[in-house]
Symmetry: C2
């Protein structure tokens, strides 16, 4: 497949008139005047910007079905009266259509890969497969549902050879999993060389609880169990001490920040400036749609950058390039994906319509993508397969209808 006459970013500068040749799910060449022998219809890239696919480094995709169901409530009533009772009734069919709805939305925002943690990971994996996205899917584990731990390893075995789905283990958090559970999760991850996906130091009370009961922070506690390492995706990391930041960096662990969710649930503002200074590999995620309420990484970049500026009292504190790097290179490093618009990279990319007023004038395109982007992803391609072209996603209407049906059934 050939994308003709498209624009690219080279060191932040817009260059136009390039062709991208895609063969067997990878970028075969990028240059001018390329020819395609495949016989596939070419995609007209004129007036469009190609960017590597974005990775949403933390979500609970099935919860897209719960978007807007409950907002603006105190945390415990929200969980106890609204989210948990509804989650208890979620069927695999609900999860299937919630995931497909979330995939639709991510495709529309140029997200080609996501990192998930939820119940029924097989259903999530199957629905994602049908939608064509790439995903790291963790079977969630916590002590209130002891049966979950036993289900993770069979799930990993079933999916570990899949070209698009990478299974992982998702111990929910240090405060919901016993030491034994955390060590078993680590054993499984070690045995299968897979990632560990965990919530970490999200709220002040979580951190205070560990300091009082164990005399160490949740980060130090996980380190004492040997969980900190390059295969760890530690999500939120809002309440980190400088020592926690250095420890995460030293161990090569990956942190995922979700700025919108942290504000909406009033968890706080993560010390991203300190984390980056300490050398932590910080990535970006949207969290689930019930605490965001969308899956828009461009918005996440903007909110992340401007809240850091304000928290550190200077507009220079966090730049568009820094947050763009977190959303792109850092995420690729965490998930070890060869993504980018270079020869040999995975053909996961999107095309953005440059003829939108919010991208004009074409002064500083990275600034526009971070601070001004308000839609206009025209096409999304994963593993060389076109999932959206010219704003059209085949089957979208049915998914929206089925998701609506499931929501009404669930809440009736």
């Amino acid at each position: 497949m050939l994308i003709k006459d498209v624009s690219l970013l080279h060191s932040g500068q817009l260059v136009s008139g390039r062709d991208i040749l895609i063969e067997e799910g990878r970028i075969a060449r990028v240059g001018r005047g390329l020819k395609d022998e495949s016989g596939d219809e070419a995609i007209d890239g004129h007036g469009k910007l190609a960017i590597p696919g974005l990775i949403n480094c933390h979500t609970h995709l099935a919860m897209t079905l719960l978007r807007g169901y409950a907002d603006d409530m105190e945390l415990m009533p929200w969980l106890q009266e609204k989210i948990w009772p509804l989650e208890a009734r979620l069927t695999e069919e609900d999860i299937r259509w919630g995931v497909k709805l979330g995939c639709l939305e991510q495709i529309r925002h140029g997200i080609t890969c996501y990192n998930d943690m939820y119940y029924h990971p097989d259903t999530t994996a199957q629905a994602t497969r049908e939608m064509g996205l790439r995903a790291f899917i963790s079977g969630v584990v916590f002590d209130m549902k002891p049966e979950l731990l036993g289900q993770v390893e069979p799930f990993i075995r079933r999916w570990k050879s899949d070209p698009l789905i990478t299974p992982a283990v998702g111990p929910h958090a240090a405060y919901t999993c016993s030491e034994e559970t955390l060590l078993k999760a680590k054993e499984i991850a070690d045995r299968h060389n897979c990632m560990i996906h965990i919530h970490l130091s999200e709220t002040r009370s979580e951190v205070d609880g560990f300091l009082l009961s164990k005399g160490m922070s949740p980060v130090e506690y996980l380190d004492s169990l040997g969980l900190l390492g390059p295969r760890l995706a530690a999500v939120h990391c809002v309440w980190l001490s400088p020592e926690d930041c250095f420890l995460l960096a030293e161990r090569g662990a990956n942190a995922v920040t979700c700025p919108v969710s942290n504000l909406k649930l009033t968890s706080g503002i993560a010390p991203l400036n300190v984390m980056l200074q300490a050398g932590v590999n910080v990535c970006l995620g949207t969290d689930g749609a019930s605490s965001n309420n969308n899956l828009n990484l461009f918005q996440e970049m903007k909110v992340g950058a401007i809240t850091q500026k304000n928290a550190y009292h200077t507009p220079a504190a966090f730049t568009a390039d820094q947050i763009w790097g977190m959303a792109t290179e850092n995420a690729r490093q965490a998930f070890r994906l060869d993504l980018g618009l270079h020869q040999g990279a995975l053909a996961d990319l999107s095309l953005i319509d440059l003829k939108k007023p919010w991208l004009c004038p074409q002064s500083n395109m990275v600034s526009h993508l971070v601070y001004s982007m308000s839609g206009g992803v025209d096409s999304t391609i994963v593993n060389g397969k076109v999932l959206m072209n010219g704003g059209i996603i085949p089957g979208e209407k049915e998914i929206l209808e089925r998701a609506q049906e499931r929501f009404l059934h669930l809440t009736s």
Copy 2:
């Protein structure tokens, strides 16, 4: 003109199958099975949500041309090295295309009216007229350019009978205008019964400066000059004491908050919860694109609500309904516009495509508009005239090209 089979919000609930009949720039009827005698082609509203036009209560629209030109810099170098030198070179032609670019963007975000403050207000008014938006346009006044004060009244006289443009006076701020200038601005506003548009208590150093030099806050200072009243739009109001809030409320003055700009320029987080409790009429604006960097009021609502929640340490602190009310009813009250989907109201409205994944499931539409909206404004109508239909704005391509030319010329 008839909009057929559209959905509306009634007390926050979605109702469908309604028709909206528009005659002579006003909504003539809303109901079922309406007939249109005009012979105009009907607009198909099926699968779309009609909302009253949004009012962007503070911007410097011509500065849309400077979007992305300079970000992530300390305030004074940003102004002194980047913004002011460029502004000094801005011609009327630059302003004309900057304003048209900003109008395009606002039309795409469902904004039908905006409140502007900038140089060359006649050019802004003329360009806005050509684009078909409604606007309150202030000639800016400050002491560094003493000639500006004398230009305001003639500008007001030229435009005061215009059906779409309402002229106003815009003393820039209490720290850039002498007492004499502020009093003259008030005189002009009194004489023409027009609004006063001013920046107020934006930064901590501004407020500290007044407390040290005058023994009162900027709000108290303006009150001592008689400027606080229902015709005042006081923009930013980040650093208000509770007493300032009560004073604004008591005088019936309108406050305009710009949450994104306040974070990006690190001015801080306005005490919206206190302001609403005190009874201040708080409205919402985007500020100029050089400090935001877009003109998207939906994004402004989300950032405003979630930062308030976090600042007051509870998700219940600020609800979607509250910020939606600020963006709609409060703005209408400030600018005394009879807007809404009721008989006799101005026909300023937009249609939003409900078949977008971020609006699904259709659980709580106000929540979706505030927290999840990521584009999909399909049509925008001002004063009964269709400015965008099905995502098409006639002449958009030329405006984008001309804005790009002006930017390159300006920065070459």
